[in-house]
């Protein structure tokens, strides 16, 4: 017996995906290191948008197997293709590879030449971000009312007899149809029996014979019995009927026809039988946040410093995106005056001038008042600066921050400068003392500092916060 199965239409079973996840789980350290390195080396805006491929060295993934060492001992190997050798000749060993040879399974685990020393694991952007922000926690995640009702979701809402095909409830529809058929059959049966009994009574009066064992409590048997009787006897007495009886018989003939039609099972699906699942749109709360990116673009911010600031802002942006369903980003750049710009201008346009930090905070205040009602928006701000400011302006900054911070969820200040006391650092430290739960500041002097700064800002406090979704294969 031979069975031929054409499996080409089937999708691949994906039976190895689970095992591939196990590889990721086992090598999560390697993957984490690789991704963090990548973040430092590449621009965050484009990083990992199509997922990331991580090479994992195969030597990490090899379990030891006992085999013979290849330093000692005597082997004999048979090779084909002798041209000139005779017994007892010597010929030099080839360098490098072991010369092929029998290649026993014990040796097969050694690296073959040209074998790729890596396996490549593909990670989706979601997995990448969750690894990147593993263990990071957003302070003051959601305030009371920090959400809007712009989105809706569908929820089940009973059944209807009309609706799109896709929402048809098959089990209910079948049950309806079946039930109706059963009832119709039973009713029709009773009436058919009645009509047949009438005909039987009439015909019996004219014929000599009758059915001896008639039991009207067993409709099915009786129907066929009477039908047989009528089919046999009625033609023999056809001419003898009185006009009244004849009319009656014919009347019941028509009735029986109709009843038989009613009782027969129909393949037609009628509308009353159909059941459709009804759905209702229900508004769902969407957690929403706005993030203000504030950057000093004065002359003292050179390209390298801007790059660091850019990485940080991008990372923060990606982090907030994982936390909030809806995230608005507002870019404010400032010199001595502040203006709201789009992303490209913010990162790539050059502008020079002096520095007045307070103008940017003032601008933010205006935008909040204008567009972002603090009762429905979670407000974050991230400021990147080299710390230069006019001394007279510092007080103005602190004053504005004292006004604004109660409305906000967090204010992150990154000083993109080498370790030296800048004239913004001191006043901001005072601010941090006053608003310890909302104001965070750190210094980053090179791209490698970004991840430490980030984990410093978002280190776990232990306060109950909504948990982020982790991929299944990450160890807890």
């Amino acid at each position: 017996m031979t069975k031929v199965i054409d499996r080409r239409q089937e999708r691949p079973s994906g039976r190895h995906l689970d095992n591939e996840d196990r590889v990721k789980r086992r090598q999560s350290d390697v993957i984490r290191d690789h991704i963090r390195k990548q973040v430092n080396n590449s621009s965050i805006k484009t990083f990992g948008k199509d997922g990331v491929v991580v090479p994992i060295p195969k030597r990490n993934m090899r379990l030891p197997v006992i085999h013979h060492g290849n330093k000692e001992g005597v082997d004999s190997v048979v090779r084909p293709g002798n041209k000139k050798f005779n017994t007892g000749d010597m010929f030099p060993k080839p360098r490098g590879g072991g010369g092929g040879g029998g290649g026993g399974p014990g040796e097969a685990s050694n690296d073959g030449e040209g074998e790729d020393p890596y396996v490549y694991v593909k990670l989706s952007i979601k997995e990448v971000l969750s690894i990147l922000f593993e263990g990071a926690e957003l302070p003051n995640l959601s305030k009371e009312g920090g959400w809007s009702l712009t989105n809706t979701e569908s929820v089940p809402d009973g059944f209807a007899t009309k609706g799109p095909q896709s929402r048809m409830d098959l089990s209910r529809t079948f049950a309806n149809k079946k039930g109706e058929e059963m009832v119709r059959g039973r009713v029709a049966e009773k009436n058919i029996l009645r009509a047949l009994m009438v005909q039987y009574g009439l015909v019996k009066g004219y014929a000599n014979e009758e059915i001896s064992d008639l039991d009207i409590y067993k409709p099915v048997n009786q129907i066929s019995m009477i039908e047989n009787y009528l089919a046999r006897v009625r033609p023999t007495v056809e001419g003898k009927f009185s006009p009244v009886d004849k009319d009656l018989l014919e009347k019941y003939d028509i009735k029986l026809k109709a009843l038989n039609k009613l009782g027969s099972v129909s393949d037609v699906w009628r509308e009353e039988q159909m059941n459709f699942r009804r759905e209702r749109e229900r508004p769902v709360p969407v957690r929403q946040a706005v993030m203000f990116c504030i950057m000093d673009v004065s002359g003292s911010m050179d390209e390298q410093r801007k790059e660091i600031a850019k990485s940080f802002l991008g990372l923060l942006n990606a982090f907030l995106e994982t936390k909030y369903e809806k995230l608005d980003v507002v870019f404010i750049r400032h010199t001595t005056i502040a203006d709201e710009v789009d992303e490209d201008t913010f990162f790539y346009d050059r502008k020079t001038g002096g520095t007045l930090v307070s103008t940017a905070i003032q601008k933010m205040k205006e935008i909040i008042a204008e567009r972002y009602n603090p009762s429905v928006w979670n407000i974050y701000a991230a400021q990147a600066s080299d710390g230069d400011n006019w001394d007279e302006d510092n007080n103005r900054c602190l004053q504005l921050l004292d006004e604004e911070l109660p409305l906000m969820q967090g204010y992150f200040y990154v000083e993109v400068a080498e370790n030296s006391e800048s004239n913004l650092w001191g006043p901001y430290e005072q601010c941090m003392k006053r608003h310890a739960d909302k104001f965070f500041m750190a210094r980053a002097s090179s791209p490698a500092d970004i991840i430490p700064v980030f984990s410093h800002f978002f280190k776990k406090t232990g306060a109950p916060v909504a948990k982020m979704e982790m991929p299944a294969w990450m160890p807890n």
Partner: protein, 578 residues
């Protein structure tokens, strides 16, 4: 045989007469280059349900008629036609339809995907040793290739799996798929109950025990895990603490006492002593291992046992399958069911598979930078070529023996029953045994075999024997030894266990030809074993004279000598007490 042959030709002719294309049906499909070629039954035959309705079915039917003429006993076939993606999936799992949950299989799968991306070259078929035997055929094989792989895999390999004594002894084709499914589900169950870390440790340990997890010579009859499962269930209910005393290597206490009484001097000879299946030994006797872990070890051992004969029969298995497809395709051609052009295509492919490069052969290829380079293409002896040559030569010796053949193979030279001889050779030998018995001087001459002696301490090889009158015997022995897997793998057996003192497990490695264990990997493996056994594990290397050459212990600070002395002393006192 000529009369019978006519008979099967008639059968095929009769079968094909039901179709509109008649005897041209295969040739038409070759021309259409489509194995989905429509087969149209004649009007009068349309009602017969026994007639194949697809071209593949028809090919299988025709081939099976030819095969039954050759008297091959096969398992039922299940032929699955699959895409490249599905083939990749199957390859990552050596063809088995069930993937065991372990990260090692994930690595294989990832590596296979990568390899396919870089070098999109896939085999034409895979066949696995189960009942029914499952064969995967690639969808893009041309029609004649589908017939070739059906003959090769579904009848050649299949018959070998069913009849070869090693497969009969070591594997159970009826239950392998069910076993795998049960194993997979059991692992998932354990992971939810006891945590994935625990299960992974045990699975890693089992992988590290590779080649120490099989019964090399014969598979014990009670090699079933169902009984263990029963006790497992009971213990789960009772929620016992998993700790059991070492069972004296399987001997009950009373038996042990009687043995002591009989011979008060010396230590008892253990029943499980010299057990080469160390994994099973640990599964049975490890003192602190929970029962689910024992079950996993046993199942892993069972799977390894399933693959054990495949390693031993590469040459004969592939050789026999190649010879079968060669016979069948030639028969098709002889019956004029296959045209000359297609037969030429077949012979080209057949020759390519059977090509044996010489040891120093190189081939030119174009490097990515455009330059032409040479690289060696020799990669060991091609099992297809060697196996096919041996079987082909058995036919020659049976039919037209020379004086040399009569001297070398007096049992069957010239007896005319070439097919019987081939079947006997294939089904009753593994590679080592088969080559020892059937490698003829002619094959050695054709291959121009020569044996090189590789002393690791020397700078050059010495030629041990060549294909001349004095060399044939030695050469044949050397080639047979190359194919003796048990010689290549270190022979490690359970030797002893210090069950009175520190419960150390003593293994013995029997050194052959001065080959010692790799000193980098062995301690790592011992660490794994220590973890599961719960007590120190030691490997002694012993040479042919019983002299201990080397001792490797699982932890560096373990004093093996002292442990041995303590064990002896405690044994001495226990004997004195009685």
């Amino acid at each position: 045989m000529s009369e019978e042959k006519k008979n099967y030709k008639e059968q095929i002719a009769e079968l094909l007469s039901h179709y509109e294309d008649g005897e041209q049906i295969f040739i038409n499909a070759y021309k259409a280059k489509n194995w989905k070629y429509p087969v149209n039954l004649k009007e009068e035959s349309k009602g017969d349900p026994s007639l194949p309705r697809t071209w593949i079915d028809l090919s299988v039917k025709v081939i099976s008629i030819i095969v039954s003429e050759y008297g091959l006993d096969c398992y039922d076939n299940e032929i699955q036609i699959i895409t490249a993606e599905q083939m990749n999936e199957a390859l990552a799992n050596v063809g088995l339809p069930v993937s065991i949950p372990h990260w090692e299989n994930g690595v294989k799968s990832l590596a296979q995907k990568r390899e396919y991306e870089e070098n999109p070259h896939l085999p034409f078929e895979i066949v696995i040793n189960s009942n029914p035997s499952i064969a995967y055929l690639m969808e893009d094989n041309p029609p004649w290739m589908q017939q070739l792989v059906i003959a090769h895999a579904c009848y050649g390999h299949n018959a070998f799996f069913k009849n070869n004594y090693m497969f009969k002894d070591h594997t159970d084709a009826n239950t392998i798929i069910d076993d795998l499914i049960r194993f997979r589900d059991f692992i998932y169950e354990c992971e939810t109950k006891y945590g994935w870390q625990e299960v992974e440790t045990v699975m890693d340990f089992c992988s590290a025990m590779r080649f120490m997890d099989v019964y090399r010579d014969i598979r014990p009859k009670q090699y079933q895990t169902t009984e263990e499962q029963k006790t497992l269930k009971q213990e789960r209910v009772q929620d016992k603490i998993f700790e059991k005393p070492i069972k004296k290597f399987g001997i009950s206490k009373s038996e042990l006492n009687s043995e002591f009484n009989e011979s008060a001097q010396g230590r008892p000879e253990y029943a499980h002593r010299d057990n080469e299946n160390v994994l099973m030994f640990i599964a049975d006797n490890a003192p602190h291992v929970p029962n689910w872990a024992r079950e996993i070890m046993r199942m892993r051992s069972k799977i390894s046992q399933y693959f054990w004969p495949q390693m031993h029969t590469k040459v004969f298995n592939e050789g026999f399958a190649s010879y079968t497809h060669y016979l069948i395709m030639t028969d098709l051609h002889e019956m004029k069911l296959m045209d000359d052009g297609t037969y030429l295509q077949f012979t080209k492919s057949h020759g390519g598979v059977l090509y044996q490069p010489e040891f120093d052969e190189t081939r030119k290829f174009r490097a990515p930078d455009g330059s032409i380079k040479e690289r060696p293409i020799y990669n060991g002896i091609n099992p297809y070529a060697l196996g096919f040559a041996i079987f082909d030569d058995i036919k020659r010796i049976s039919m037209e023996p020379t004086a040399e053949d009569k001297k070398w193979f007096p049992e069957f030279a010239g007896n005319g029953k070439w097919w019987e001889n081939i079947k006997y050779a294939a089904f009753h030998h593994n590679d080592h045994e088969g080559i020892t018995q059937y490698l003829s001087p002619k094959v050695m001459r054709d291959f121009k075999f020569f044996a090189t002696i590789d002393d690791k301490s020397e700078q050059s090889y010495e030629i041990g024997a060549i294909h001349d009158r004095d060399g044939y015997e030695n050469l044949r022995r050397a080639l047979a030894k190359d194919n003796k897997i048990t010689d290549m793998l270190p022979e490690i057996r359970v030797h002893d266990c210090h069950e009175r003192t520190d419960r150390a497990l003593i293994l013995r490695h029997y050194v052959r030809n001065g080959k010692v264990l790799d000193d980098v990997v062995t301690p790592d493996v011992l660490m794994y074993m220590h973890q599961l056994w719960g007590h120190p594990v030691v490997i002694e290397s012993v040479d042919e004279d019983g002299e201990i050459l080397d001792v490797i212990t699982s932890s560096r600070d373990y004093d093996y000598e002292r442990s041995c002395m303590e064990e002896d002393v405690s044994h001495y006192f226990s004997v004195l007490k009685m």
